[in-house]
């Protein structure tokens, strides 16, 4: 069953078209990256999926139909701007939020205990939320989104305020949830995390769909004719079939001439006696694709 099916939704705020005829699907067992520059319409899209806003037109199906109170129990959500009750103890806050997801108190108690221990929050359970550090609050927020074992998790910027150790822990958790067959929609600006975690992405800009598909397919679309090599001895400044040799940190980026083929260059290098420890066709980092696509659209708009 498709977890989220968005077809042709649009939403206007006054004169501003926040989302414009957007369509996509999210499947179970995938981490789906919802990307776009600030103000692209990501949060509005998420809020429409969550039934906080109704779209002006188009249709959204969540867990096989329109949103109901019962389905809300199957969704975990962390908004971009975090929100927990500040003036009450951590455990009470999490228990309350879990109860709103239909979890009976005796069940949530044991689940929360396990999660708090996993995230090193158990000893702080009686402290008021406002007394916890930002990172701790972030972890608490994650617990509140996951404790009821939802089918769909929507997280806006999951790694803000987390140190590298906790970032790894959260990544592992998200991956394990995906492996359990849950769908995770992740909205972030950290492209390295998207590359590492996401199976498919949707890039939107000005409410429009710009890129949509599996990460590999998209990167393939943007694959350049560059080659990355790591030789044992330094390379000469000119190589046949290569228009430019760029020295990176211990590696070289070779920009090929118009007619040149990568396997021909590899053959040339080996025939010239160079020993290589690495040879790969450069896949453009998502960051570059993002800048390229969004930048191009900006240029078109302003030009």
């Amino acid at each position: 069953m498709t977890i989220v099916n968005v077809s042709d939704i649009s939403k206007k705020f006054g004169e501003l078209k926040a989302v414009d005829q957007l369509s996509f699907e999210v499947q179970p067992g995938e981490i789906f990256g919802l990307l776009g520059p600030n103000g692209a319409g990501k949060t509005t899209t998420i809020r429409m999926i969550l039934d906080i806003f109704e779209p002006d037109s188009g249709e959204i199906q969540v867990l096989g139909g329109s949103m109901t109170e019962e389905k809300k129990n199957q969704i975990g959500y962390i908004p971009e701007e975090r929100g927990l009750y500040q003036d009450i103890p951590l455990e009470r806050c999490l228990t309350f939020l879990a109860s709103l997801k239909g979890m009976p108190e005796n069940q949530s108690k044991s689940e929360l205990e396990a999660y708090m221990k996993r995230f090193d929050l158990y000893e702080y359970r009686n402290q008021k939320v406002k007394e916890l550090s930002k990172g701790m609050q972030q972890k608490a927020q994650l617990i509140s989104a996951l404790v009821h074992d939802p089918q769909l998790v929507i997280i806006d910027e999951p790694f803000t305020s987390l140190d590298p150790v906790n970032t790894e822990m959260v990544k592992d958790l998200l991956v394990s949830k995906r492996d359990e067959g849950k769908a995770i929609i992740m909205s972030t600006h950290q492209m390295n995390q998207v590359e590492e975690l996401c199976d498919r992405i949707l890039l939107i800009d000005h409410g429009h769909r710009v890129l949509y598909g599996s990460l590999q397919e998209i990167q393939k679309q943007f694959t350049s004719r560059d080659i990355l090599v790591t030789p044992i001895d330094p390379l000469p400044e000119t190589i046949e079939g290569v228009s430019e040799v760029k020295k990176l940190n211990g590696r070289y980026r070779l920009i090929l001439e118009e007619q040149a083929q990568p396997n021909q260059i590899l053959k040339n290098l080996i025939n010239s006696g160079f020993e290589l420890t690495e040879f790969e066709i450069a896949v453009p980092p998502l960051n570059e694709i993002f800048i390229q696509v969004v930048g191009k659209k900006e240029d078109e708009q302003h030009g």
Binding site: I52, F53, E69, I78, G83, L97, S99, L100, G102
Partner: protein, 404 residues
């Protein structure tokens, strides 16, 4: 339903189990106790314990025995001295040996009138002890005309009749006039406290974004209903606690001032009290929630909400006018305006007979207003919760409510 219950419980526990609530709860009765104590001490020190003279022309007092009981500091036992003539009593009164004297005329058994002479009016305790003295001495008259006996036994009771004779307030039902004021003040304090909590809760949750998480678990209308009921329960807890304190105060106070012990409320009055104050309470709470939903800052929201509280107190400013003309056009008009109707009606009932149709219409208006306010609050909330940093106008809430 389970989720609404969770929200009610959460709101209730969040506010009730705090030092602030406990302080608010105890401060009012403590203040009243303190005032009582001051009044008691001042009264005890200012009581005149000088003897009182009696000139008995009717010959009903066989002997005036010296006080057997010690009395309390607030009701000291008075010594009564017998005089043969008024001249003698007068000179002792002027000399300050006695504080006053009673003259029991010969025709006392017929009209039960006595004459009290004083320079400074004696305390009420003197009067009741004198009545008691007369009663204990009336036994020999038991065999006389039963009507006279009855009259003598019952003593005096002042009864005030309304002009159209439709109702009467006896001297011992003083509280029916006082009650609307006390109920009104308590009502406003409680409504403003729990309304204030609600206002704060909504604005804060909007500010710290908890709202967005909560509405992805429960519908905005349920959330709003839970919040309103939860905060009303907080207010009712406060009110019930104060009523218990008040009841204890009446029982304890009744031992010193018998007039307090006579307090009891007619059932129909209690019913009207409940049927007006409860919807009024819900209406104000919903208005507070709506204000909280449309405003972005707590200070701003408080300013607007103070307008609501001010208009609720309007009937107090016109209490004189209500007392003089409780069924006049102004009083009647204020009874039909939702924010002032509950208090106005209660005050009018204290002073006059309000036509039944008016009571029914007022209760209907209040219930409808409460429902409308809850509906409006739900709508304002759904729109306002996500418009961070932007105020909502009433027009926008009405216009855009359906689409959001």
């Amino acid at each position: 339903m389970a989720k609404i219950w969770q929200i009610i419980k959460h709101e209730y526990i969040k506010h009730v189990f705090t030092k602030r609530f406990l302080f608010g709860l105890l401060s009012l009765p403590l203040m009243i106790c303190l005032m009582f104590a001051v009044v008691l001490i001042v009264t005890a020190f200012s009581l005149n314990t000088e003897p009182v003279g009696i000139i008995d022309h009717a010959g009903i007092l066989q002997e005036i025995s010296p006080p057997t009981e010690k009395g309390s500091p607030f009701n000291p036992q008075i010594t009564f001295l017998s005089y043969d003539s008024e001249d003698q009593a007068n000179s002792d009164l002027n000399a300050g040996t006695i504080q006053a004297y009673y003259v029991i005329p010969e025709n006392y058994p017929q009209n039960t009138q006595v004459i009290l002479t004083f320079n400074e009016e004696p305390d009420s305790g003197v009067q009741s002890q004198f009545t008691q003295l007369i009663r204990t001495n009336l036994e020999p008259f038991r065999d006389m005309d039963p009507q006279i006996w009855e009259r003598l036994q019952s003593g005096n009771n002042i009864t005030t009749l309304s002009l159209d004779n439709s109702r009467e307030v006896k001297q011992d039902q003083w509280y029916l006039i006082l009650l609307p004021f006390i109920a009104g003040i308590l009502f406003i304090v409680v409504v403003m406290t729990s309304g204030g909590y609600l206002l704060q809760a909504v604005v804060e949750e909007k500010e710290n974004r908890t709202m967005e998480i909560v509405v992805t678990s429960v519908s905005p209308n349920k959330l709003m209903a839970g919040k309103i009921i939860g905060n009303i329960s907080v207010g009712l807890t406060q009110l019930i606690a104060w009523l218990i304190f008040g009841w204890i105060a009446l029982k304890v106070g009744g031992r010193f001032w018998p007039i307090l012990g006579e307090f009891s409320l007619p059932m129909n009055y209690i019913l009207i009290l409940l049927l007006t104050l409860l919807p009024a309470f819900i209406m104000v709470a919903a208005i507070m929630a709506a204000i909280g939903s449309t405003m972005t800052e707590i200070q701003e929201a408080q300013q607007v909400s103070s307008l609501v509280s001010l208009s609720m107190t309007v009937p107090f400013y016109f209490s004189n006018m209500f007392m003089m003309n409780p069924n006049g056009p102004f009083a009647t008009a204020l009874s039909f305006f939702p924010l002032t109707s509950a208090l106005t009606l209660l005050m009018r009932i204290g002073f006059t007979v309000v036509p039944t149709w008016q009571i029914v219409v007022i209760i209907a208006i209040l219930i409808l207003s409460a429902l409308a306010a809850v509906w409006f609050a739900g709508r304002a909330f759904r729109l306002g919760m996500l418009q961070y940093g932007k105020k909502l106008s009433i027009k926008e809430v009405l216009r855009r409510g359906q689409k959001a």
